[in-house]
């Protein structure tokens, strides 16, 4: 209770009409995180599909006949390296070194491309020996899950290249810093999804 009495000549104000200053993009990081959570649901659905259909071979090849774990280990290493090199790009950004950011982003992109190249090689090999998505429910769900992850990496690389162009044009302005942090979340999130893929699809598949 306010002890102040309301007088007739003073306008009564019960709420704050003034707009508070919100810097541009102040909610971008949280919004992007919530987008990633929705992306997480997409992957969860695809994982559930694979969990349900992964044992239906239709008398076709099983994971044991198809997966080459050495190749998958190499692929995992590529993605893990790209994660730490992105980390180095963020550290360079905190020190305000635009050239360093560009360099580490480029290295991250190369590791991403290596990952994609190995994945495409694997898919090409599978399709060539007749293990196409049409062959069995297991292969349909496998290609959908791993392919969706691969598409995410592809678009991550497109974003990365776009960001490098913007960095070279405008430097480390606030908007670009925000973009670097958003792509950082996206990139590390894809690595988190890949942990699920290599454990649940490849390693558990070979065990089955």
């Amino acid at each position: 209770m306010s002890a102040k009495t309301i007088t007739a000549d003073e306008p009564v104000q019960f709420y704050d009409l003034d707009e508070h200053a919100h810097p541009e993009g102040h909610s971008t990081m949280l919004g992007f995180w919530i987008y990633l959570m929705s992306d997480c649901l997409i992957f969860a659905i695809l994982f559930a599909c694979y969990a349900v259909l992964g044992g239906s071979y239709a008398a076709g090849p099983a994971p044991k006949d198809l997966f080459d774990l050495k190749l998958i280990a190499l692929n995992t290493a590529m993605l893990l390296f790209s994660s730490i090199t992105y980390g180095f790009a963020v550290l360079q950004m905190q020190q305000g070194k635009v050239k360093g950011v560009q360099l580490w982003l480029a290295i991250t992109g190369l590791f991403g491309l290596a990952f994609l190249g190995i994945e495409l090689y694997e898919f090409h090999h599978l399709i060539e020996i007749g293990a196409t998505p049409q062959r069995s429910a297991f292969l349909s769900s496998f290609f959908t899950l791993v392919g969706t992850h691969g598409l995410h990496v592809t678009f991550g690389i497109v974003w990365l290249v776009t960001l490098m162009v913007q960095l070279s044009k405008y430097g480390l302005i606030a908007a670009n810093k925000r973009r670097v942090m958003c792509l950082s979340m996206f990139w590390h999130f894809l690595d988190v999804v890949w942990i699920g893929v290599f454990t649940f699809v490849y390693l558990m598949g070979v065990l089955r």
């Binding site: 559930a48 590390h188 070979v206």
Partner: protein
Amino acid sequence: MSADPHAVHEIEMPHASMRDYVVGFVLSVILTAIPFWLVMAMPLSAGATGAIIMGFAVVQIVVHMVFFLHMTPKAEGGWSLTSLIFTVIVVAIMLAGSLWVMHHLNTNMMPMPHEPTSQTTSQIP
């Protein structure tokens, strides 16, 4: 939030450090190498290996969240963690529910002629 609502504040960004990334990377390498070795060399039974690699995956996901995604209970005033917990609950319900329902449907299916081995083995108690 600062006391003065009119103050122009900088956008909050998680502060990353070299230590975080290196620790996260080393832990990730260990947590990736062990499951791959367990499956490729097979020193244990398939069941035990499966349980262990699933455990390693969960730990590695937490490591990535903490060291690479800078997840803390205080990030974005707690909203990041809240949305993460919500998502994890939804995902857990959906994964467990799908597997449960589909497992029941599978066991109620008529025996299929081209898969005689799995049917006969499941009949024997």
